[in-house]
Symmetry: D2
Subunit: 409 residues, 4 copies
């Protein structure tokens, strides 16, 4: 089957290839392309601390297939043997990359250039990599400027998926499976421990928060987490803020009395009245300064002076003055806030959580809590080795978490 | 449209017809049959305590349509004006009712016979009503004996749907809506209060329990509720018992370590080992007597000597010696245990909860907790005015409930 | 309980009050406020064509409670007896209504002013009503200008919920229940008939479309519906367009080969390549003019010259040049497109469907198709008497619909 | 870390270890037990057709840990180097295995005994393996007889998970992922092709069928599949039969008219009337012979003389005379019917599908169709390399399938 005069290419891959399953993935990938391979050399790590290194030659009928497969094995950490300097092509217009552009993953990445491997800055998925004076940087297609040097091809790229780096800890073990049939207790413990550690280390934990947190009675617990310094940034939309303000001003959430649980007729207008009231002051902050707004989640966010962004959406009422209605601007603010985050808590907001996930490197720990298993699966399964998915009631969960951290509500 | 020579029938209905919406339902029902009606007399309750009474004549082209519509308005509480004694036909063979048999609802029912209205015993849905020496009794079709007197037609029947009786309390208000976007707090409060009241009054609360209670860490809280006398009967299947025993003997649930949350490889056999171990003793009770089984949910059920039934199913492993494998027998035991219940807690077990719901009168309070909204809707929406549906994490919920009742776990 | 010296107010309500259940709702509403009522006069419609008219006096300890309850019964169609001219207050600043502003419903509404009932224009929910030279108009709070005359109080308002108007047809009967346990066949028939009728009458059917339509293979069927003139407007987001373009250019959808169903490794970049390709041309339309884009859903939308809007969101990749990134602008375009619509098909896009629902009057027929029952319930249950919810596979459903209409795919 | 005087054991594993990921799993399993390993020899398959063979020594502080880990790596296909004859212990009582019993998987298994590897009969999961005169046989714990020779320990066992056998075909590729965001088209094609092939080869396809098939309008399509010889056995419960009979006798399904989709008031009794009618004849078959039952799913099942079993459950109404109420008997009949099956179609019945899955060897192809993603995931993820999960509308799906096979409905 393998003919002498076929095109071939030799690739190298190194790391915890066997226990992580990476070598399996790589070989399957080659076979799926209907190509043949030959493992030229393999040094299998004999014990659990040793890494494995393999040199594999891939055979194809044409050069194009080889180049194609290289773009596919590259995200697994493989690179061509005898790497050559990366090729950069100039963008011929704004917001447009050359045809053969390399599209980034969310894993740690290096570029072979100047006869050495160089790190990439601002790692995120679905970006191009631009050569700048100070180094190599992930950039969104829309931010390409005419004349930028865009990385093309994947011959000179190597990436480090978390699986190949294999730092085992208590957080990692929980990342296996999404199920509503799992004890909440251990999840609460693990996350409480992680939050304490991050606070102690002066780290950064960002929360992405949907309005369900307010409806299910989780807002006081989340406010306490913010007050006590466990949260360093807040991402959400217009709705979570509106319903939090409704809750303070009218004692209702979606028109339902938060004390008695009884729907208050006419309460379906309360969210509009809350918006109108804030509009009267000009902003949430001004309502606080005027002594009108005295409590709640947004109050605590403002008071703790943590950075926040409320992103607009097509379904917004109002929106509140704080809501950022331009999506390009909102994505920029989100990206700024998560920069350097150690952990991201995604609380029942699929829309904003996906938005956040798109711009988060794979090595950031993420925790996704939602009552809908399909949402949790979608969020937890983004190629990250560091995502815990929890199918649970977010209100009850936040209260259990605050209890475990002995917070006063 | 209404012709003089049409067939007609006059019905009477009385109760909280307007505020409960019953009159709307009744008129729509007539219209849906393409029949005409005329409201002959209506005395509208002028205030919220007065009831409304209406006499309505229904017109149809043939007598059959009138009889048909009577079978349909009867479950709403309407009966023919000038009620006549009920007609009973003899069953010509076992397990078979005469063609025109009356099929019961789960609402309180009376039969006009001997020129007065008589109560029906053993109320449940989908039964026939048999005239016995001591009165009138709901009986399953399969229990009909040749020669039994079976009620036919609905001319002499009146039922009392809970909506027409309208006792308002805190429990009732929660029965409106199923949603995962509701604060858990009020639900916990309401149920805790109800449990206390039932205990104080020497009442009866039955729990229907699925294995998810064990997987999500809710078993210690439920055990405490049983220990402290809040639960007077336990219904479930083989699985909840198996997983509870696995949890005690091997510290795992579905093979997952209940302390660390890590899957223990080989743990997928633990449920079989638990079954085999009990088989060795002959029963759960004998394992307790031998000092082998010392804790857990089934331990507490046995120790508290509350009646219980584990119903078998096609998917059972084992099953355990206690499991009742004959479904006719299991339904009988279930029915016996719920007799006279004040409240039923349905905890994440659709199969057993539907089985229980089928045999429960509509005036028994039911609470259904499940993380799947579709299950909660299905269970809560069984024509009962007394069902609360809660979309939540059952493990967290039971712990919050035990906390509210200050139980030691 | 009712004292002579209590405050009271008499309201009038007229329509199909009993069969629609409106009178029940109204009385419950009064009781829920802990107020008493007395039905002074009631003329019950004796037959199914006659309407009912009631005069009801409500008693309260203070005048505030009466005013409050009036705001609550007003959306049901009740108005104060002896209506007085509406009161309008001037807005003291932009985007801010006077405290007592009336918040609109999505039902047909009239204002008593100049001693007669006047219709309201641009009906939508959660708006204020402004008195303009040419009449009365629903306006979003954010669009209020200083000096505008804003309607305050609900004493001079009457609304017509669809239930009170009661036009029965085949469409209406389907609006009862959301369930995945219902035969698809009748739903397909009903919608096909409705689409034909709208086309024949020169009416307007708008589609709100999520990317799942592309992933599940529904795009060719929807394209055929557009091509044959069944659809007069297209609402969606960036994602549906991106995945449609990916499908045409690379034969994949989310990187999965649309012919073989096999994931194409590297295919996860295809959506970025599609965006980059369109960016190269400058727009979808220019890519068509250049002969590069030759088929697909967006191609058909552009070719058929129906108005469309792609609303941006925080989770967008790209976005495409056509995507409207400012949410205020996107809402305006959406509102413009649905103006005068006879029917709206909501196809598996919760975000955009809620956005659309917010601005749609309650008399517009809506059909919501999604595989998640919770989404369907949320969308179908927006106070409209004209919403069909279908829990199904949108790809299969669109194909069955195209089949029923004999469209060539 | 590895000391000379530690206990150790050498295991051998052979097959497609690397591309299937089996070696990864095996090494992780050892590490999860906190043991060390050393890969003594590894012959990596250099090309995609060559297999890999590894000898690995495992180190532990005590002999027990080694024995434990052997029970865990054994299901992956590993066996101890220099296998010794299997040890069998006598059962000391009925339905009870010796403490150290080997619990079977659903994969192909061999026992080392008499100095050679012997096949195991009646493979299923969660069974013990008994040495009989004619060979080795999987037996349920409840069927153990006192004196039976029960296999203990896993030292002399080797299993063949499908992943290690790696026969790639079109069916296999679809088994990766469960999602409602996938084109239905390819799934329909794949299953249609498979059904044709099985029919042509005189093979055996079994259907497991829930009542939703009837409610969603899929019964005529499934009946056509049976009529045309594509189905060789039918498994279900009481409900699917009851609703099918209701559909024929009264034109309703759950009381909803199957032609118009309108609920027929009083229709909620139809299922009881259908049961009563069959009870009158004595059985479904006798109702057919009497000319009373002339069409439908159960009619076709009986007419085609394919074996079937309706398993009872705690939630049954009736049940019908055909329903098997003893669960031990029902499991036996199910097991008999699936014996030798090539494919199993699981149609929207979680309960019966799990029951069937429990007794099915891993090499049987299974297809699970349900609208609830959680059910599909649970069913498709049973350690089988041959399970396709499809999140879709089962009524639409069956119709598309019948269309693809050109069946007349």
């Amino acid at each position: 089957m393998m003919e002498v005069n076929m095109n071939n290419m030799t690739i190298i891959i190194e790391g915890h290839l066997i226990d992580s399953g990476l070598l399996s993935n790589l070989l399957n990938l080659i076979v799926d392309e209907n190509l043949d391979y030959h493992i030229d050399k393999i040094t299998v790590g004999k014990t659990k601390v040793e890494t494995t290194r393999a040199e594999i030659t891939i055979f194809a009928e044409d050069q194009e297939s080889l180049e194609l497969v290289l773009t596919k094995v590259s995200p697994l950490g493989a690179h061509e043997k005898g790497a050559v300097d990366a090729v950069f092509e100039r963008a011929i217009k704004d917001a447009h990359a050359p045809e053969g552009f390399y599209s980034s993953t969310n894993h740690r990445t290096e570029i072979y250039f100047g006869s050495k491997w160089n790190p990439v800055q601002s790692q995120r998925m679905d970006a191009v990599i631009i050569k700048k004076d100070h180094g190599f940087e992930c950039t969104k297609i829309r931010d390409i400027k005419k004349g930028d040097f865009i990385l093309c091809g994947s011959e000179s790229v190597r990436v480090y998926p978390p699986a190949a780096e294999m730092k085992e800890d208590d957080f990692a073990f929980m990342t296996n499976e999404v199920s509503s049939e799992r004890s909440y207790d251990i999840a609460v413990d693990t996350i409480a421990r992680e939050l304490k550690q991050i606070k102690e280390d002066g780290g950064k934990c960002i929360v992405v928060c949907g309005p369900v947190v307010v409806h299910t009675g989780g807002a006081p617990a989340l406010s306490a987490l913010i007050r006590e310094g466990y949260i360093q940034g807040f991402l959400g939309g217009n709705a979570v803020a509106v319903h939090d303000l409704e809750s303070f001003y009218y004692g209702t959430s979606l028109g339902v009395d938060t004390k008695t649980g009884k729907p208050t007729h006419g309460g379906h207008n309360h969210h509009m009245r809350a918006i109108n009231r804030i509009n009267g002051f000009g902003s949430i902050k001004k309502a606080m300064e005027a002594g009108d707004l005295k409590e709640g989640l947004m109050y605590q966010v403002e008071k703790s002076k943590i950075p926040y962004c409320l992103a607009g959406s097509i379904r917004d009422d109002g929106p509140l003055p704080e809501t950022v209605n331009d999506m390009i601007e909102a994505q920029s603010q989100y990206a700024q806030i998560i920069k350097g985050a150690d952990m991201i808590l995604m609380l029942s907001s699929m829309l904003h959580s996906i938005g956040t996930g798109n711009m988060t490197p794979s090595w950031v720990k993420t925790v996704c809590i939602d009552i809908n298993p399909a949402v949790v699966t979608k969020l937890a399964d983004r190629g990250s080795g560091q995502a815990i998915g929890i199918v649970s009631d977010v209100g009850l969960f936040l209260n259990a978490l605050a209890g475990r951290l002995n917070l006063k509500l």
